[in-house]
């Protein structure tokens, strides 16, 4: 009995620390879960961006544009450009 009453403060402290420890690790676990989840959604968003981008690069190629613009009367110039050279005086 005497021992108990002598160390009651320490016991209380230890149990308080125990509670803090448990709460803390629980908290940490939840944070990790959240981090992992966010990481995944970042990766997903990135890949989604990548998918859209790649679709866009394809649609922006000269040949694809030419195909789409054919109906509007635009076509690829069949003549190579005339290059004007000038000597600056």
């Amino acid at each position: 009995m005497r021992i108990v009453s002598k160390y009651i403060g320490l016991i209380l402290l230890l149990s308080a620390l125990g509670v803090v420890y448990i709460a803390n690790s629980h908290q940490a676990e939840r944070k990790m879960y959240k981090i992992e989840k966010l990481k995944k959604s970042v990766a997903d968003a990135k890949s989604q961006c990548q998918t859209v981008k790649s679709e866009m690069t394809y649609k922006c190629t000269e040949s694809q544009l030419a195909k789409r613009l054919e109906s509007q009367g635009l076509k690829i110039n069949s003549q190579s450009p005339i290059i004007i050279d000038s000597e600056r005086s």
């Binding site: 992992e36 890949s47 790649s54 690069t57 003549q79 190579s80 600056r88």
Partner: protein
């Protein structure tokens, strides 16, 4: 009982209560660890395990930073048809079927039947859809029943990573495939070590009630490394042009296969590589790397290499008279014919080359390399130029060229060097090379005799930092002395000007090259089959790109100049504007200054070229741009006030000053950028100094 004993009893009661509770816990601990231990320890393995985690694979880029290959996630969707409760399933199955039908084809009835039967059979892993995108996956997960999640709705989605090529078919064989069930190909294979992320073992745990694995916290943990990115030499604008030009011709000629390679002359960097073959559905797809992997008898495009050897060995000059015998001659009982029986009896070697006469080439080779000593000389000269070696391009599967060897004594006719070998080799038969290997010699001629190693990858980049830069490599600094190279260049230019390629001329630019029409499978009976080819470089006077076009087994027209030539010409025509010409760049200020002057002059010029502009009533104006048209802003010129002369030409500036009664002292030429008296002041002195540049 006094109060003290009573208190003591109470305390002991509580105390024993605690002790009993503690003993119970202790008992349970012992029971769990000893009696039920095995069971739980087995259970642990289910929630914690070592998993192999692979870092994301690197991307492949074009030289301009366009994405050629990347990893994107895809999903396989399954449904656990047993999990959903009776009520949930029956009430929502119609809605789910409707949603599926609305977005993914099939009728609602078909979906319903499929799912109901699956449920009846107790299917806990029914395949709903395969390989869908993230968006589609998210959409499906929002459908009735499935939106209740994995535990109530039975929605199971398995994520996997696939390689996506934004440019689809374009150079896809060269970029390659990353597959686990068969060997990798293309750049994905050649650079796999760089591309693949680090694989590592990681301790993963699963928390009860959650279904994804999480890494167990480890302070030393480095997140698994992503693979490095590869920057290729490919230029997607050139690739696009080459791809579609070849595709057009393939469609119209119904060819079996075709390839185009465009190379940068100075470096050997491959700017475009197209490989099209016909698939089972009759579509043209990148099914094999013909340019790198398919060797065949090159035919007339080899005449350049033969001519190089013969010029090098001084067997012939451009002006040597060669007997053509009308286009038909027999060597050791075997007849050689020109593509047309032309009746010409004699021509210079240059003319022989222009008209691509087989007999002419064969005669020169026959006279130059007689008997075994001569054959060995021919062989050694070709070998010395490196013709018998691979180019060493990064892609796996480059074929070794095939040449007969006069040093080897063999009875095998296919390998034995005989009297007809040199004459036939001189026009591209009795030997085999890949299109890329042939092209490399056209490139060397364009590059004044320096043979470069063709290459596809210029940089390896890791986390934004260049970890390896691959420089152009010289295979042979001088395949022949300069005079021989100049002669060879002259030959190729005259082919384009007067020879077999004369009908392919391009306005505003020039090229040099050689046509090729190769009879294939000539040992078989039946219809004659040909490969049409064209190799060359452009612009002829200062070569920037070299290119080869090979069309395998076209129907109808089969001459190199008719089938492959137009592809080459169109490529020249469309690429020649893309060369990065160095335009002298004015700095911004001077460029802006050029837009100030006399209003009427501007109006005259703009009216003449037909450009829109908004008019100004002012005499002197600053020209600015807006989104719709050019805008003139009034330039203030007031009597008795020093004007702002910035941007005016000398003539305009002196005119303005004189009209205000001032005298100008001039320094420099061009436009005014500085003046000695600042604008806006009252005119006190008549003289002003202006600085022009």
């Amino acid at each position: 009982m006094d109060r003290k004993t009573e208190l003591l009893i109470r305390v002991y009661l509580v105390f024993f209560g605690f002790v009993l509770f503690a003993l119970l816990i202790l008992g349970k601990v012992i029971k769990i660890s000893l009696v039920e231990g095995e069971k739980y320890r087995a259970e642990v393995g289910k929630n914690i395990k070592l998993k192999e985690v692979e870092g994301q694979r690197g991307d492949i880029y074009s030289i301009n930073g366009n994405l050629l290959a990347t990893s994107i996630p895809q999903f396989d969707i399954y449904v656990d048809l047993v999990t959903p409760k009776e009520k949930l399933f029956n009430e929502n199955i119609d809605a789910l079927s409707r949603s599926m039908a609305e977005h993914f084809g099939k009728t609602a009835k078909e979906w319903k039947t499929e799912l109901v039967i699956g449920r009846k059979n107790g299917n806990k892993y029914h395949t709903l859809m395969r390989s869908v995108t993230k968006d589609q996956n998210d959409l499906v997960s929002s459908f009735p029943i499935l939106n209740k999640g994995p535990h109530k709705g039975g929605f199971i989605s398995i994520r996997k990573s696939i390689r996506e090529k934004p440019y689809k078919e374009m150079c896809s064989r060269t970029i390659g495939l990353n597959r686990s069930n068969a060997s990798k190909i293309g750049l994905e294979r050649a650079f796999d070590n760089f591309l693949k992320g680090d694989t590592e073992q990681r301790l993963m745990q699963k928390f009860p009630g959650r279904d994804n694995w999480l890494p167990v916290f480890d302070p030393d943990e480095i997140s698994q490394k992503r693979g490095a990115d590869i920057v290729t030499t490919l230029d997607m604008r050139i690739q696009d042009i080459a791809h579609n030009e070849l595709l057009n011709v393939m469609h119209s000629s119904k060819a079996k296969a075709g390839t185009v390679v465009v190379m940068e002359v100075k470096t050997g960097a491959i700017k475009a590589i197209v490989n099209l073959g016909v698939n089972a559905n009759g579509n043209y797809v990148e099914d094999y790397n013909y340019a790198v992997g398919r060797k065949s008898e090159p035919g007339s495009t080899f005449k350049l290499i033969a001519a190089l050897a013969m010029l090098k060995d001084k067997k012939v000059t451009l002006d040597t008279e060669v007997s053509l015998q009308g286009g038909r001659r027999t060597f050791y009982g075997r007849e050689m014919k020109d593509s047309k029986i032309h009746g010409i009896s004699k021509a210079t070697f240059k003319e022989v080359f222009e008209m691509s006469s087989n007999v002419g080439m064969g005669t020169v080779a026959h006279n130059g390399y007689k008997n075994r000593e001569g054959w060995k000389q021919f062989y050694n000269t070709l070998e010395g130029m490196g013709v018998m070696k691979k180019t060493g391009i990064e892609i796996f599967g480059e074929n070794n060229p095939f040449f007969k060897n006069p040093n080897k004594d063999t009875t095998d006719v296919a390998l034995r060097w005989g009297g007809t070998t040199a004459p036939w080799m001189s026009h591209g038969y009795a030997l085999e090379m890949t299109p890329l290997q042939v092209l490399n010699y056209y490139n060397a001629v364009a590059n004044d005799g320096r043979l470069m190693k063709p290459y596809l990858v210029s940089e390896i980049v890791n986390e934004g930092k260049v970890v390896k830069r691959l420089h152009p490599q010289v295979l042979n600094d001088e395949i022949a002395e300069p005079s021989v190279i100049t002669d060879a260049q002259e030959l190729l230019i005259s082919v384009a000007e007067r020879g077999t390629a004369r009908n392919l001329k391009v306005k505003n630019t020039s090229f040099a090259g050689k046509t090729g029409t190769t009879r294939i499978n000539y040992w078989l009976d039946g219809a004659k089959q040909y490969n049409a080819s064209f190799a060359g470089y452009f612009p002829a006077e200062s070569p920037k790109y070299s290119a080869i076009v090979v069309v395998y087994d076209p129907e109808g027209a089969y001459y190199g100049a008719q089938v492959a030539g137009p592809v080459f010409r169109n490529i020249v025509q469309r690429i020649s504007g893309l060369e990065d010409r160095i335009v002298p760049s004015d700095n911004e200020e001077t460029a802006l200054l050029a837009h100030t002057g006399y209003n009427a002059d501007f109006e005259n010029v703009l009216d003449y070229i037909g450009m829109d502009y908004s008019k100004s009533k002012s005499k002197w104006v600053d020209m600015k741009t807006s989104s719709e048209a050019l805008v003139f802003e009034k330039k203030k010129i007031k009597n008795g006030e020093v004007p702002n002369l910035k941007g005016l030409g000398l003539r305009d500036a002196t005119y303005v000053l004189e009209s205000l009664g001032m005298d100008a002292e001039v320094d420099g030429i061009g436009k005014v950028y500085k003046q000695s008296v600042s604008p806006g002041r009252m005119i006190t002195e008549k003289s002003i100094k202006i600085y022009l540049q």
